[in-house]
Structure formats: structure tokens, C-alpha cells
């Protein structure tokens, strides 16, 4: 069954400059979909559009965002409040600023469960302990009593992952969840997200700039630039034979410890110019 | 370039309005001799507590002196104190703040403790004691303000210098081989300058108020020099017969201080190249 169906989504700044151009992607139940691109490619904009938190200067101009068959475009704040945290959850990029520095972990974990699941304080606490066990935190009782600044970056991200799975959401938006972490901690977090996702059958829209991360945790992927999806398909297929010149260039620009220096090359200007031309053609209303 | 910069500055309404108000007072003070319709000291005991009229646009006080003329001459004292005391306070406090923030160690310890101790004295009492010791007069008022208020600059400038000191560009200057003096003057000072200008305008407003307080209690200038504080003190005695006598110098005080604060607020946003 389809969980998320983004169809022909376009968005523009108030001045008229497009930021998303006809973005379409479908995420099935229990599927992890990687959204890759460089900064400014529009990948975070897609995530924000799904969450209904687009910047004030950006407006959707066309398309639909269907979540479990229901179009979220135009949904009001109350509708989103009922949805977010329960059916759609977020794993944010910066684990420090996503937690309130002046409240204990327990309060922040139980809030969402009491609100959406109607649990008592006691039941919510019990569930918080189960969730912390699931993210492999050794002493969950102690962690519940802590404040965010008393935890390491990796621990904070584990807590946030536990919160995101708290209400058994159908869809999780993961926005560069490991960018701020050390490489060994990144591996732990990715292994954990993937494990939880399999057990709970959750669909994930995984936003990242790192092709390596996509290769390890995603089943399908979309490559974005200039607000357009340039290539889409199964990760295994694209890794084996990237179809778009930009995707190939992205691979060539990613340094690898197992490849010689000479293999490294920036994205060629000609490739970027072709994409810019396609974007212009799209803006002018011509099919491309 | 400079003209474009001026235009952009004036496009900020705070800078434009504050600057205009301050400019009006400055012009009035500089040209007090020409603008005053009468001699501010000339008494006319037949015309005491006159309401505003064609002859005396803002009326007369209890000795029959022209209030408009006294206000204009009072602006001279207010602005002179604001300028001299403000700048001296700013220079002293900034020098100490920069030294404390950049050098660290015992100079910082010494200056910071001095600031702490200084700030624990009640400022009004301290100024009254100082002026009583130094004798009345413009110079004592200025000295009193500088002695009391340097801590305000020292504290803020120390914190800002400390913040800038830990920016990578200072390390880059050290690696580049710059001497400490050059780093302080060429690298750090331009970055704390906007804050300096903002604090200076605020300090000028404070100086105007302190001068008014000291004149009000009769500790500033001899009574034959018109000051706003002195006028407020005199007006207090006839507040029921002629309320405008106390209201007018207070309004002038309010307008000047508000103008200075607006200017400072506006400059704060405009002087930061990154915010802009």
C-alpha cells in the first residue's frame, strides 16, 4: 500500500522564483526512500512541504501530497497537529536544538504519547522505557532523569529516534539525521533506524547529501537538483548504473578511501548548465 | 559610496527620526544667540508666569524670564555635557574594556573587579558626593559622569572583545604574524566599533539625564546659567499656577533623550555589515 504519494509538486518563493519543479515520488509501506542532492537542491523543501512547515516565503503552486490517500495540501494547522507526531514523525538534523534544554528527557518523551495516545503519566513512562531499550540505551531510568545537555550527541539522537517511533507512525521524515555525528556513531544510529524501521514496518523519507548513507539504508532513491527530481529508482540499480549525468558526477565528486586521488572530480559546469537550462525551460512552461 | 551609505542610513526610520531630533537640538544650541527671542537672564517682574503669547511664545517663568530662550540656552549645557561626558566616558571605558578582554590574565582580573566594586555604589549618591567634593560647575558634572559610567562601557566592551578574541580570524592574524597591537587595532576594533557607537549615543542620553538631576538638586551650574534641570526645579514650585513651566523643560529632556536612543537603536542595525 502507498503511504506517501507526492505528485507533480511545485513551489515558488513569493517573488515567483521556483524552488520545487514538478516533484513526484511514491513511498510504499515499510519502504525507505532516499532523497539526495547538494545544499539548495530542494530536498529539505520537499520534507518541509510534507510536514506543512514550509518557510513563510515559500508557497506551493501545484501538485498534491497524498498521505494514506488523503491530500495534505491546504490542510489547516489543526489537521496537521492531529497528524504530526502520531501518523507522521520527524527525526531532525540537530539533536541538540531539537530538544528543549530546560526540560528533562522524561517530560519530553511522555508529552507526545500522552497527547496522541491518551496514555496516563505512568503508562507513558513505561512505554518510554521500552522505547529507550529499543534504541539500545543501557540505563533508560537514568536517561529519563537527565537534561539534554547531560547527554552526548549520539545519545540525544537515540532519544529523538525513540520519540519519533513513540506513536507507531506510518511515515517518518529523517532530515540529515546523522550529519552532525562522528562516523562510528553515525553507523550505530543508521543501524538502529534501519532495525526499528523493519520491526515496525515504518516508511521513511530519508533526506541526505551523502550517497554512502543512501546506499546503506535506502531501498529506493531520488536525486534532486534545482528543485527537480533528475533520477529515480531502486538504489541497487542506480548504484550499479546511474542514468543521469548529474548522478554520475555526484558519484565522481564523492571521495572514497578505496579509490585513487585521480578519480575525484567536481560536478562539471556543463552538467550544471544543462540542468539550469532544463529548469528554465520548465519555468517557461515548455515540456522538457 | 559615502553618499549611498548616507542614503541607506537615512532609509532607516529610527536613524532618520532620531537624527532629526538631535540635529534640531544641536542647531538650536549652536545658534542659541540668534534663535533666542530674548535674553534668557533678563527679568521682567511685571510679566511673571505669563501664559504663552505672541511676545513670549512659550510664556515666562516666576521671574518673568522668556522660557523659550531659557530652553534654547539650556540645550547648550545639555548637549555640551552629553558630548564631552559621553565621549570621555566611552573612551575611558572602551580602553579598559578592550585591555581586559584582549589581554586577559591579571589586567582582566584587576579591571573586572574594579568594575564590580564600582557598580555596587549607588550612582546618584556617588555623583552627589563627587560634585560636593569637586565643587559645582560644568567640569565637576562631567567628571562625575565619567567616573560613574565608565563601568558601563568597560563591561560591555570587555564581553564583546572576549567574543571577538575567540573568533578564528584573530587566530588567523596571529598565524599571519601580526603583533598584538595591530590585531587589537586593525582586526578587533573595527568589529567592536558599531557597539561603541550605539553605546555612545545611549550614554549621551544618560549624561543628559544625570546633568538634569544634578541641576535639579542645585549641584550643577550656578543659578545664572539656564539648565533644564534648574528649570524643572523652579517649575515644581509653581506647578499649580503654571504647569507649562515644568512641562516644557521635561518635554525637551524627553525629546532629546528619546532622539539619542532612537539614533542608537537604528545605528545598531545599520552598522552591522552582516545583519544588513
Amino acid at each position: 500500500m502507498t503511504v506517501l504519494d507526492i505528485a507533480g509538486l511545485s513551489a515558488a518563493l513569493h517573488g515567483g522564483r521556483p524552488v520545487l519543479r514538478d516533484v513526484s515520488l511514491v513511498i510504499g509501506e515499510g519502504e525507505v526512500h532516499g532523497l539526495v542532492g547538494m545544499s539548495g537542491a530542494g530536498k529539505s523543501m520537499v520534507a518541509r512541504a510534507v510536514l506543512g512547515i514550509l518557510p513563510a516565503a515559500v508557497r506551493l503552486t501545484a501538485g498534491a501530497i497524498r498521505f494514506q490517500g488523503r491530500d495534505l495540501v491546504g490542510l489547516d494547522e489543526r489537521g496537521y497537529r492531529r497528524l504530526l507526531g502520531r501518523d507522521i514523525a520527524l527525526i531532525p538534523q540537530d539533536p541538540l536544538s531539537a530538544l528543549n534544554p530546560s526540560r528533562r528527557i522524561e517530560a519530553q518523551m511522555t508529552d507526545v504519547m500522552r497527547l496522541h495516545l491518551g496514555l496516563s503519566a505512568r503508562a507513558a513512562r513505561d512505554r518510554a522505557l521500552v522505547l529507550l531499550n529499543e534504541v539500545r540505551i543501557r540505563d533508560p531510568e537514568a536517561v529519563l532523569r537527565r537534561y539534554p545537555h547531560e547527554l552526548s550527541g549520539g545519545m540525544r539522537q537515540r532519544v529523538l529516534i525513540a520519540i519519533s517511533f513513540a506513536c507507531e507512525p506510518r511515515l517518518i521524515i529523517a532530515d540529515e539525521p546523522t550529519t552532525a555525528l562522528d562516523v562510528t556513531v553515525q553507523q550505530q544510529i543508521l543501524v538502529m533506524i534501519r532495525g526499528l524501521q523493519r520491526r515496525h514496518g515504518t516508511a521513511i523519507l530519508f533526506v541526505t547529501h551523502d550517497l554512502g548513507v543512501v546506499a546503506k539504508v535506502c531501498g529506493r532513491m531520488s536525486v534532486m537538483h534545482e528543485g527537480m527530481v533528475l533520477e529515480q529508482g531502486a538504489v541497487a540499480d542506480i548504484m550499479a548504473a546511474p542514468g543521469h549525468a548529474f548522478t554520475r558526477a555526484l558519484f565522481a565528486a564523492t571521495p572514497r578511501y578505496d579509490r585513487p586521488v585521480e578519480a575525484l572530480a567536481p560536478v562539471p559546469a556543463a552538467v550544471l548548465a544543462d540542468i539550469a537550462a532544463a529548469a528554465q525551460a520548465f519555468d517557461a512552461g515548455r515540456p522538457c | 559610496m559615502v553618499r549611498a551609505g548616507m542614503f541607506r542610513l537615512l532609509a532607516n526610520w529610527r536613524v532618520a527620526l532620531g537624527g532629526f531630533v538631535v540635529l534640531v537640538f544641536v542647531v538650536a544650541a549652536l545658534g542659541a544667540g540668534w534663535f533666542s527671542p530674548a535674553d534668557p537672564l533678563e527679568q521682567d517682574l511685571m510679566l511673571q508666569l505669563e501664559a504663552p503669547s505672541a511676545q513670549h511664545l512659550l510664556g515666562t517663568d516666576s521671574l518673568g524670564r522668556d522660557i523659550l530662550s531659557r530652553l534654547i540656552h539650556g540645550a547648550r549645557v545639555a548637549l555640551a555635557v552629553a558630548l564631552v561626558a559621553g565621549i570621555l566616558t566611552a573612551l575611558l571605558g572602551t580602553a579598559l574594556g578592550l585591555a581586559a578582554g584582549y589581554l586577559g590574565g591579571w589586567p582582566d582580573m584587576l579591571i573586572s573587579r574594579a568594575v564590580d566594586i564600582w557598580s555596587s555604589f549607588p550612582p546618584v549618591l556617588l555623583s552627589v558626593i563627587l560634585v560636593a567634593l569637586l565643587g559645582t560647575g560644568l567640569h565637576s558634572v562631567i567628571v562625575a559622569i565619567v567616573v560613574i559610567d565608565w563601568t558601563r562601557f568597560a563591561r560591555v566592551m570587555r564581553a564583546e572583545t572576549l567574543k571577538q578574541r575567540h573568533m578564528d580570524y584573530v587566530d588567523a592574524a596571529v598565524v599571519g604574524g601580526l603583533k598584538p597591537g595591530a590585531i587589537l587595532l586593525r582586526e578587533i576594533l573595527p568589529n567592536v566599533l558599531p557597539l561603541f557607537v550605539v553605546l555612545l549615543t545611549l550614554e549621551m542620553g544618560i549624561a543628559v539625564i544625570v546633568e538634569a538631576i544634578l541641576s535639579f538638586v542645585g549641584l550643577s551650574l550656578s543659578s545664572d546659567v539656564p539648565t533644564w534641570g534648574g528649570m524643572i526645579a523652579e517649575g515644581r514650585q509653581v506647578i499649580y499656577q503654571a504647569p507649562w513651566i515644568i512641562a516644557l523643560p521635561m518635554a525637551a529632556l524627553l525629546a532629546l533623550v528619546l532622539g539619542l536612543n532612537l539614533l542608537g537603536d537604528g545605528l545598531k542595525a545599520e552598522l552591522d555589515p552582516v545583519l544588513r
Binding site: 539500545r136 546506499a215 | 573568533m167 588567523a172 592574524a173 599571519g176
Partner: protein, 274 residues
């Protein structure tokens, strides 16, 4: 050896536990006996995770910090504990490129003045050609000389940082995480630029990074740091193909390469509790 550091130790006051009036903050040892050498023209990577001491080691090498113990020589001259007066004549020969190009460029100065600063400090006369040459070597045209840092893109700012570091034609450059905030494409540009400049100018590099892949494309040798010590040190080829220390093996295995590898998620080390 151009840079020769032996037995370097460094303790700094613990910022988490401030001292009192009578008792200074207890020091914590950040570097615990580090031996590190860079030969002329050689590029050496320093890798490690946050808190490993790699940035602190870099700052000792360039003598922004003074070590508590050990010896440090630059081109044969002992600079372990000499003052800034002795270091100043050496500064033109040892330069640094910073992690955050925005905070390392004075926001109030134009690109030309920023790049010219080390020349001015060293008393090297310049009619503008050295600055222009350094900028063009870093891939920036003359039009950039008049700009302020906030008017540049991230990649351009880092190029200004590189121009400033090479303007005095140094023998040694310390580069601290200089590509960590950049897009892969910009990152590739900066890495290839630095590699070409190092070869062309015979520069020695100490390249600090948390990303081992980045180190591989630029460096001849690599030193792996863990908790204030270098646990493994050797030619890149050897270390990446045949790591001996378990921590190095773990670091390398944790890197997600852009290729399908189902075993990566089953790494038992990644299943640890925290």
C-alpha cells in the same frame, strides 16, 4: 623533518568545571604524548573523532597553543616554548587554513586586505601582484578583491582562506577540517585545488579531518588519533588496506561507501549499547 613533534602533552583547564577564587579549574589532559612528523613537501592526514585531540594537536604544531611537555621543532629550530617575538619571523613560512571560512575572515575587511595581512605583518613589499597571484592560484579573479566575506559563497570563502595561507609562499600549511561544511562538488574542487597547489609549490600539509575518505585523496601519510594519542601512523595505502589497530579498523568499517553492501548494517560493533 620540517615539523618534528615529540612527546607532546597538553593540559587545559576543564571548562565544564570552573575553578573557584582559591582553586583554579582542574586541568584535563588533551594530548597525552604525541609524536608527529611532517617532511618537506609531504601531506599528512590527522584523523579522529570529536574529542580525540586532533584540532588541539594542529594548534600546537602551528604554535597557537604551547605544549605543557615535549619538544617541537620547525625546520630544525626549537619552537616548543618560545614567545611570539621569536615565532613572528617564522610565521610567513607556517600558515593555516581554518574550518569555518566565515569566522576566520574578518567580516569588516575586504578580500584584498585579508589576503595582504600576512605580507604586511612580515614586511614583505607588495604592489598588489602577490595578492592577485595568490587569489588567482586559489581560483579567484581580481573582481573578488573588493568584496567582503559575507558577499561570497562558502567555497569562495574557503578559497580566500587558501589565498591568505599561500600568499607568503610558506613551507607548511595546517588545514583544519577545511571541507567539512561544503557540498561534495565544492569539496572536490577545494581538495583538488589544494592537492595541485601543494605539488606545485612544494608545500607540506597537515590535514585534519574526521572523514577518512577525504584524507585518502589528499595525503601521503595518515595518523589516527584516539583520546589524545596517535594509535596508528603510516602511509595511506598501508593503513587503509591493512589497518593494524582495532580502532582504525573500526573507523574504516564505519564509513558508508556509496555501494551496496548488506553486511555493513550487520557490523556487531554498531550494535553496542550506549
Amino acid at each position: 623533518m620540517l615539523i618534528d613533534a615529540r612527546g607532546i602533552r597538553l593540559s587545559l583547564p576543564d571548562r565544564g568545571r570552573p575553578g573557584t577564587l582559591f582553586r583554579p579549574a582542574p586541568p584535563i589532559e588533551i594530548l597525552r604524548g604525541v609524536d608527529f612528523q611532517v617532511a618537506a613537501g609531504e601531506a599528512v592526514g590527522i584523523v579522529g573523532e570529536s574529542g580525540s585531540g586532533k584540532t588541539t594537536l594542529g594548534r600546537v604544531l602551528i604554535r597557537l597553543l604551547q605544549p605543557t611537555a615535549g619538544t617541537l621543532t620547525f625546520a630544525g629550530q626549537d619552537i616548543t616554548s618560545c614567545g611570539e617575538g621569536v615565532l613572528r619571523p617564522l610565521r610567513p613560512r607556517m600558515q593555516m587554513i581554518f574550518q569555518n571560512p566565515l569566522s576566520s575572515l574578518n567580516p569588516r575587511r575586504r578580500v584584498r586586505d585579508i589576503v595582504a595581512a600576512p605580507l604586511l605583518a612580515a614586511g614583505i613589499p607588495d604592489d598588489g601582484t602577490r595578492v592577485t597571484t595568490a587569489l588567482s592560484r586559489a581560483g579567484l579573479g581580481r573582481a573578488f578583491e573588493e568584496r567582503y566575506p559575507h558577499q561570497l559563497s562558502g567555497g569562495q570563502r574557503q578559497r580566500v582562506g587558501i589565498a591568505r595561507a599561500i600568499v607568503t609562499e610558506p613551507a607548511f600549511i595546517l588545514a583544519d577540517e577545511i571541507v567539512s561544511g561544503l557540498d561534495v562538488s565544492t569539496q572536490a574542487q577545494i581538495l583538488t585545488l589544494l592537492r595541485d597547489l601543494a605539488r606545485e609549490m612544494g608545500l607540506a600539509l597537515a590535514f585534519i579531518a574526521h572523514d577518512l575518505s577525504v584524507v585518502r585523496v589528499l595525503c601521503d601519510r595518515v595518523a589516527v588519533m584516539l583520546q589524545g594519542r596517535i594509535v596508528e601512523d603510516g602511509p595511506c595505502g598501508e593503513i587503509f588496506e591493512n589497518p593494524r589497530h582495532p580502532y582504525t579498523r573500526r573507523l574504516i568499517r564505519a564509513i558508508p561507501l556509496p555501494e551496496i553492501d548488506d553486511g555493513w548494517l550487520d557490523n556487531p560493533e554498531a550494535m553496542e549499547e550506549a
